[in-house]
């Protein structure tokens, strides 16, 4: 068989885009010192909100807005629990994933029982792809060259020290969670806009792959984005090689399906050595 690289390139952008956006959400959260394993739940909420409202109103932009708002809501819930109540960040993130799965599943069931149409006409994918490519570039610039970015990094190093320097870590972290919601929201909206309908649990672990990309990228925007898109690339590639003879043999589908994860894992193991985790991550 011959590989059509244009086709694989397109699939890489579609598969990697939601991962990249979610990883950027994770990056902003963790650079401010807040662990975020609730990306999955936020993506799911955004996917559900986008799909349900788009299908109901026939207006995909309104759907996306509601989708992003749902993710922001969950992001602020995380902010309340870790910044105000100082709950363990991992516990709060897990709770968000569980709640989001429960609520979106319940709503989907309710809509199905009413016989409501659940598929919708989305805005074109390239719009989302543009966002997914622009986000890491913008964030890289903002982290380096804006007050917002410098404060974020400072707070991620040590909340106490930045307070001494006159930066309020609470304010910075609240602001960061707002952006987490927006980015994870666009990620979920992008995901659901591909098949143009919601499915319960459709994020299928993408929020965690995004976290892996974040660690792989050493909490830096461009390497993290590259990690996310390379996962997308390997996924696109394995979907094309599956069921074909490679080196004269048809390999089992499970092996292909595991390939992107395996390569990410190997990469992670290699890069963890020089990881640059924000010093205050999960500690304040």
């Amino acid at each position: 068989m011959t590989l059509d690289w244009m086709d694989i390139g397109g699939a890489t952008l579609r598969l990697g885009g939601p991962l990249c956006l979610a990883a950027m959400a994770g990056l902003i959260s963790e650079r401010s010192g807040v662990i975020n394993i609730g990306l999955e739940g936020k993506m799911l909420a955004a996917a559900a909100g986008t799909s349900f409202v788009s299908a109901m109103t026939g207006n995909p932009l309104l759907g996306i807005a509601v989708g992003i708002a749902s993710a922001v809501l969950f992001a602020l819930l995380h902010a309340i629990s870790v910044i105000v109540f100082r709950i363990d960040h991992v516990v709060s993130g897990m709770a968000i994933n569980a709640v989001s799965f429960g609520i979106t599943g319940y709503l989907a069931k309710l809509l199905t029982a009413r016989g409501a149409d659940q598929d919708f006409d989305s805005i074109p994918q390239p719009v989302f792809i543009l966002f997914a490519i622009a986000a890491p570039l913008l964030i890289a610039w903002a982290l380096r060259s804006t007050n917002w970015g410098l404060r974020l990094t400072a707070v991620g190093h040590s909340g106490a020290k930045s307070r001494e320097a006159g930066v309020d870590p609470v304010k910075v972290r609240w602001n960061a969670q707002l952006w987490v919601g927006v980015l994870a929201g666009i990620s979920g909206a992008m995901l659901v806009s591909q098949p143009e309908q919601f499915g319960v649990g459709m994020t299928a672990g993408r929020g965690f792959i995004a976290l892996a990309a974040l660690i792989f990228g050493g909490w830096r925007p461009i390497p993290t984005a590259l990690a996310a898109f390379s996962f997308g690339f390997f996924d696109a590639l394995q979907l094309r090689l599956q069921g074909e003879k490679v080196a004269g043999v048809e390999w089992p589908s499970q092996m292909w399906a595991a390939l992107p994860y395996l390569l990410t894992l190997i990469a992670l193991a290699g890069f963890l050595m020089k990881s640059r985790q924000p010093a205050a991550l999960g500690k304040e």
Partner: protein, 341 residues
């Protein structure tokens, strides 16, 4: 502060975790049937929804109350069966082969309770197992795909690569082979049942390889497969339920698996009083599997296609054609000549 917050979050988390509340529908209070969906759940427009249709016919056709129970994950099966077994309805139905272990354990520990399970054979006196000859229906859609394809290449998208789904693939491949021996078949597995976006990408990969028709047996991933067909202006083949309406004109046909009939049949047996455990096999002959009427796509078929399909159908029904159930059998499969007109 810490504790208050933890308690609030804990409560929220628990609220998110509980399985769906049982939905009760009125009727005669005597006869009660409870049905546990698999983790795919209602709304898959496929396997689980077919079971739901059967369940919904019970109150009007047999009288009595029905109850639905969702499973968030496979870990819920055991709890669901245990709780229901305490509640003691007349019949507990489990939808899907993934519940096999939990169901057999429940049947062992509650010998007086009647159970039924879809897609699993049973040798227990209080458990009825319904299995389907999916390969027979898949064979017919394979024949249609082989005859209809313009590129001479068709594809299959499976969910997880388990034996049950390989049976769909085997039947499909055999059907294509019978209708058009030189045609190529490529298959991809998403290794997932819920990832709608992945289902779409898998189908796009199949189309990219030059195929123009994709048959799926992949749960909710299939909704993505059908969306891909619509987007590319090509064809998909639906599964389990009639999925022809999901993208009219882009779903060639659907391989229908009458899970609803099995559910209704189990309820009838439970109500009649002479409920016996064991396995019931539903194939083409029994009306357990089949293809749709192709409301939107008949004009796409080449002439005589329906005749050829019917000829194969009667050969399967009268036993002269045995459809392969594994990929190894497909290799050795020699399609019998078909006589039409």
């Amino acid at each position: 502060m810490n504790r208050v917050g933890a308690a609030i979050l804990g409560m929220i988390a628990l609220a998110g975790c509980t399985a769906g509340q049982p939905a009760q529908t009125g009727g005669d209070a005597e006869f009660r049937v409870a049905l546990v969906f698999d983790e795919g759940g209602r709304g898959d427009k496929s396997f689980n929804d077919s079971a739901a249709r059967g369940l919904e016919r019970i109150p009007s056709e047999l009288g009595g109350k029905i109850q639905e129970v969702d499973s968030k994950s496979q870990a819920d099966y055991k709890t669901n069966f245990e709780q229901l077994s305490i509640d003691k309805p007349d019949l507990i139905i489990g939808v899907g082969s993934t519940m096999e272990k939990a169901m057999f354990e429940a049947a062992d520990s509650h010998p007086e309770q009647k159970y039924a399970i879809i897609d699993v054979p049973s040798d227990k006196p209080n458990l009825l197992g319904y299995t389907f000859r999916e390969e027979e229906g898949s064979f017919l859609v394979g024949v249609l795909a082989g005859l209809t394809s313009k590129t001479g290449k068709v594809g299959f998208v499976g969910g997880k690569s388990i034996d049950l789904i390989k049976k769909f693939e085997a039947g499909f491949r055999a059907g294509v082979k019978a209708a058009r021996p030189e045609a190529q078949v490529v298959s991809k597995y998403t290794e997932d049942w819920f990832d709608v976006a992945k289902g779409k990408e898998a189908a796009l990969a199949v189309y990219a390889s030059g195929a123009d028709i994709v048959y799926h047996a992949s749960g909710k991933c299939g909704l993505g497969v059908i969306n891909a067909a619509e987007e590319r202006g090509l064809l998909a083949i639906g599964v389990d339920s009639d999925q022809d309406d999901l993208a009219p004109g882009h779903v060639l046909t659907s391989m229908i698996k009458r899970v609803d009939l099995a559910v209704l049949d189990a309820a009838k047996r439970a109500k009649s009083g002479n409920f016996k455990g064991g396995t019931v096999v539903l194939g083409l002959k029994e009306g357990g599997v089949g293809i749709t009427e192709m409301r939107h796509t008949k004009h796409l078929l080449p002439p005589r296609a329906l005749e050829i399909v019917r000829a194969y159908e009667s050969m399967i029904k009268n036993g002269t054609l045995r459809v392969p159930t594994t990929l190894e059998e497909v290799e050795k499969f020699v399609p019998p000549p078909v006589q039409t007109g």
